[in-house]
């Protein structure tokens, strides 16, 4: 396979009156993994379906190495896909499931099965060759689907929230394995959609932030995370979403609209006075007995080994993330410390103007 770039120009898709993709442009290069992050219905699945050829865009085009890609029928595209539901062929054994795409490309039966066996070993399913997919657990079914997608050796591999229907521990395990599994695929473009920023950051060479059909930002994970282009991106690439507070800058002081003030941090001194929206990450807020902000717990949610506290505070509702497991009861009173040095500043329209 030669140098591959997948290029999308001005892609738009509407279905039944709702916009799924809105003038999306990007270029993807081989040997790299792209994670597409966005909430449910942001257009992630639609994007993959358009690349796969399962959906025709209303406008725009996709080219592969400058050759027109959009018009090709699905079965002639060099594309493999893994769905969020565990889609396998129920009537075929695990081994024949994986051998299926190879057989369709004319690989002799014996050779196809041998290669399928190797792939099953790579995804940790040796010993399950003769089972039917329905006899496997959810995680194992997804492994079969993954092996089958890899078997096709396509130039483009699409994964549509492949872990969303698995439970926490399996997701964690799969992510680790994915890093190894995709690392060796130098001639492949991998596009991976997810709603979880942690997953997007640890897996992706680059992140595409999609919201309501529009591509809001694309770039290296750390760049997107540290310099989110807008409040919307900032909300999407933080879990829980970045806290946003209205306020203004005047007399070299930062004022929240609740009345509280703070000294202007160094990275904001160049900003002209006026109205802004300030953002602070949930894990940049600290619970401290001497904190300046009083608040009341609405709900404490545990994720992995972190606790998300949703609070009602003097400066508005805030989400706080703390390490460890803290099953705080409802209406517990807490105090928070807010470090102005950790604040982001956005224009009233939402564009980023200053980042820590």
């Amino acid at each position: 396979m030669l140098a591959v770039t997948l290029n999308a120009e001005n892609l738009s898709v509407s279905l039944d009156g709702t916009v799924h993709l809105d003038h999306v442009d990007f270029t993807l290069a081989r040997g790299r993994l792209y994670t597409v992050i966005g909430r449910t219905l942001a257009g992630k699945s639609t994007l993959l379906r358009v690349i796969a050829g399962l959906l025709e865009p209303d406008s725009g085009r996709i080219t592969l190495d400058k050759r027109q890609f959009s018009g090709l029928p699905v079965w002639r595209r060099d594309v493999a896909m893994v769905y969020q539901q565990f889609i396998n062929y129920p009537h075929l054994s695990v081994l024949d499931n994986v051998a299926f795409p190879l057989r369709r490309r004319g690989t002799p039966k014996h050779e196809a099965r041998r290669r399928a066996g190797e792939l099953l070993m790579r995804v940790g399913l040796e010993g399950f060759e003769t089972r039917r997919p329905s006899q496997l657990s959810g995680g194992q079914q997804q492994r079969v689907a993954l092996a089958r997608a890899l078997a096709k050796q396509a130039g483009i591999l699409l994964l549509d929230e492949p872990l969303v229907n698995l439970d926490y521990k399996l997701r964690e395990q799969f992510r680790e394995e994915f890093r190894g599994l995709f690392a060796g695929q130098a001639d492949m473009i991998v596009v991976y959609t997810t709603t979880e920023i942690g997953e997007a950051m640890m897996l992706g060479h680059e992140i595409l932030v999609l919201h309501e059909g529009r591509l809001l930002q694309m770039g290296r994970p750390a760049d997107v995370f540290e310099r989110p282009a807008s409040t919307t991106v900032a909300e999407i690439v933080n879990d829980p979403p970045m806290n946003l507070l209205d306020g203004h800058i005047a007399d070299n002081t930062l004022h929240f609209s609740s009345g509280m003030g703070a000294t202007l941090p160094l990275h904001m001194v160049a900003l002209p006075p006026g109205r802004y929206r300030f953002g602070i990450r949930a894990n940049d807020l600290e619970m401290r007995p001497d904190g300046a902000i009083g608040g009341e717990v609405i709900v404490a949610e545990v994720s992995g080994s972190e606790t998300f506290l949703h609070l009602d505070t003097a400066i508005g509702p805030l989400a706080v993330k703390c390490e460890g497991i803290h099953p705080l009861a409802l209406r517990t009173q807490v105090r928070l410390a807010l470090e102005p040095e950790r604040l982001f500043a956005f224009s009233p329209e939402g564009g980023l103007v200053a980042a820590p």
């Binding site: 920023i197 950051m201 640890m202 933080n238 879990d239 390490e323």
Partner: protein, 359 residues
């Protein structure tokens, strides 16, 4: 609400009594009035069987179920006075929200003004007050789940509320709202709540006590933070927390745990440290990089860094083993050789996969 007692409850669908036959191995269990219990485990671990025994859908092949002083083992679901919320919302699709909530009371032949008062009260609590006149089938999935719960709450005789993975079909963005509502209601009504889930996040968020189940047995039970700090087995240590607890092969010598030739201090009293082959368990959250050598400080080599956004997971090689360290984003990540400290108070010792008790 009632206290639920399971006495020698076990169930095998085949009727056999050999250990391999049991979907739920015989156990004793008491669930206290007004507390929230989560049955947590992968599918096939026996958690749903246990719930169904309590609700009366399954009659246990052995043992008795007591609600307070009442033996309910032989009673059908309808006569156990429980409320249940299922995985998929169950509503009476042909009725309005009001009629749905009133249904259990109509069945109990309450007077209509008494029903109106009670339903109004519960509907306000569930934020459904404005929707009482609407047909129930037009609501969103999370509202439908609230109605299912509401049909239990209107009754005044409910012994326990049982929930079977009630958040499965809820849109991720709505889960937060529903969780909050459930917590609030739970807080207010002091329900005896039994909650079945395979999702440790949900269990940890909801329950005052979690029962971790595996292979038909309860592996450990206790409050969430206890499970996190003192996993009873290496399985629980792996299962609870993300990333999983690190385990290192070591050897007990005197009052020390020796790892890679280096004796480590622990919080265990000297005579508690088992001699011979043991494993050290320590959570990635508690490991720290330090600048100078000292007690419990090991030489390590950074081999991989995963950027998760708010945190980084640093994988290091230490004494021939791989260990994960969880670091907040603002903390510096060492490159190449580094010094890693195991805080003595956070070290747990395991022998044959079981936690060695600290006291």
């Amino acid at each position: 609400m009632a206290q639920i007692t399971l006495k020698q409850i076990g169930h095998s669908y085949s009727g056999g009594t050999r250990p391999g036959d049991y979907a739920l191995c015989p156990l004793d269990m008491t669930w206290h009035d007004g507390r929230t219990y989560a049955l947590l485990g992968p599918s096939g671990c026996g958690k749903t069987t246990m719930l169904n025994i309590v609700s009366g859908i399954v009659t246990p092949s052995q043992g008795r179920v007591w609600f307070d002083q009442r033996d309910v083992t032989g009673l059908p679901t309808a006569r156990r006075n429980i409320a249940q919320v299922f995985q998929f919302p169950v509503i009476y699709g042909s009725k309005t929200v009001y009629q749905n909530l009133a249904f259990p009371l109509v069945c109990r032949k309450w007077a209509s003004d008494r029903i109106r008062r009670k339903v109004g009260e519960i509907a306000d609590l569930l934020d459904l007050g404005a929707k009482l006149g609407k047909p129930a089938r037009g609501l969103t999935a999370d509202e439908k789940q609230l109605i299912s719960l509401g049909r239990g709450l209107v009754r005044e005789d409910v012994s326990a509320v049982l929930m079977d993975e009630p958040l499965t079909v809820i849109d991720p963005q709505m889960k937060f709202h529903l969780r909050r509502k459930l917590k609030e209601i739970n807080d207010r009504f002091k329900l005896t709540l039994v909650y079945v889930t395979h999702d440790q996040d949900e269990a940890m968020t909801f329950a005052s006590e979690i029962l971790v189940m595996s292979g038909g047995r309860v592996v450990q039970s206790g409050p969430p933070e206890h499970l996190f700090e003192f996993p009873q087995t290496t399985y629980v240590g792996y299962f609870i927390g993300s990333p999983a607890m690190n385990f290192l092969d070591a050897e007990g010598q005197g009052d020390r745990a020796v790892f890679a030739g280096i004796p480590l201090t622990t919080a265990y009293p000297g005579d508690r440290v088992p001699q011979g082959a043991i494993r050290i368990g320590v959570r990635p959250e508690y490991l720290e990089f330090v600048a100078t050598a000292g007690e419990n400080v090991l030489a390590a080599m950074v081999v991989d860094v995963q950027d998760h956004g708010g945190v980084r997971i640093v994988e290091v090689e230490v004494g021939g083993a791989r260990v994960k360290v969880k670091l907040a984003r603002e903390k510096p990540v060492p490159e190449g050789p580094a010094l890693l400290r195991l805080p003595p108070g956070k070290i747990r010792l395991y022998r044959d996969g079981e936690l060695v008790p600290l006291d």
